[in-house]
Assembly symmetry: C2
Homo-oligomer: 204 residues x 2
């Protein structure tokens, strides 16, 4: 088996096991068994468990945000897109294997001891925040491309600051919905967060 497919299989196994049961509860030997990759190759691809965890988080970040963005753009236009984020969250919470935010879980497990993991989590959350800001910008300028939006934002610093503030509030709502759903085990927090977002958008 070559290095490329080994890496893919390892990340697949890592994602499935780490997300379902937690990082510390899964040993490297179990990753090996689930992936079908030899231990020697495993340590060639990822010289330590920490690096495997970081790899798992980085790839999950890409896929997670891809899935969100795809769902939002195909499902809604304009101001509705922000609300579509919470609809997507509700679907995610309703999936059988939902176990909360992989990044928060990993942060709770390793954030205090592993700076690399903490950085991966921070990066993910920053990207989500950026995405929400983008959605609001596109909402305000539905007919312009990204470049034009940024020019406009520069020209109107006050509006940009307000968008940024709103994006922060939406981010807090999304974050809270994820953790509350994880702990209570129900998808309802997505609905509550959506209702709150709706109110914030309506009355800003």
């Amino acid at each position: 088996m070559d290095q490329r497919t080994a890496t893919t299989r390892l990340l697949d196994a890592a994602e499935e096991l780490f997300y379902a049961r937690g990082v510390q509860a899964v040993g490297m030997d179990e990753i090996r068994a689930a992936s079908g990759v030899s231990l020697k190759r495993l340590y060639q691809c990822f010289p330590s468990k920490e690096q495997l965890v970081v790899g798992y988080l980085r790839r999950r970040d890409e896929r997670w945000r891809d899935s969100l963005a795809r769902s939002v753009t195909t499902r809604a236009r304009g101001a509705e897109q922000v609300l579509a984020v919470f609809d997507w969250l509700h679907e995610w919470f309703s999936e059988p294997g939902f176990h909360g935010c992989a990044f928060l879980n990993s942060f709770g497990e390793l954030g205090a001891t592993s700076p690399a993991v903490a950085a991966a989590v921070r990066d993910h959350k920053a990207e989500v925040q950026r995405y929400l800001t983008t959605l609001l910008t596109d909402t305000d300028e539905p007919r312009t491309d990204r470049k034009a939006s940024e020019r406009k934002a520069l020209a109107e610093p006050k509006a940009a600051a307000e968008r940024e503030a709103l994006a922060e509030q939406l981010n807090v709502l999304a974050e809270g919905a994820i953790t509350t759903a994880a702990i209570t085990g129900t998808p309802a927090p997505a609905r509550h967060a959506r209702a709150a977002a709706e109110a914030l958008l309506a009355h800003r």
Copy 2:
């Protein structure tokens, strides 16, 4: 040293160490050293590490909610009380030793493997939710005692349901503020959540 003071010292040491560095990163021997309690006595008070963790969470729950309630009632009256929750959060986030929500951290570490820990976390979150609902009820009926409020709530099921929905939204905001503050390391999410809460209260 008698059992009572031993238990207190153990919980003190456990809270300090577990909260600062995580449960898994702290060994029982370190708890023993920090508390000055012998290992034998430790296992008399808490027959397993899991039970020590649960004890730590239960006592922290009491203290945390006491501190919140005390701050809210001394600082504000009526509708302002809900916003005072977020002011208290901001102060908490600004403390030097802030490391996020002890319950979420423990849930991320042990929730998947320890039902007892998961239950303690769920109980804490449910209590907070209840507290927020209480605040909203007292807000609407500032001059009546609890019993009267409940009678009123029964008589007006629609209003009670709306209060409950609002409480859920506030809960999501608080939860999101805590996790975002923990990951970004800044107290700003408390301000964002407060602004959102203000908007929700104003336009309901």
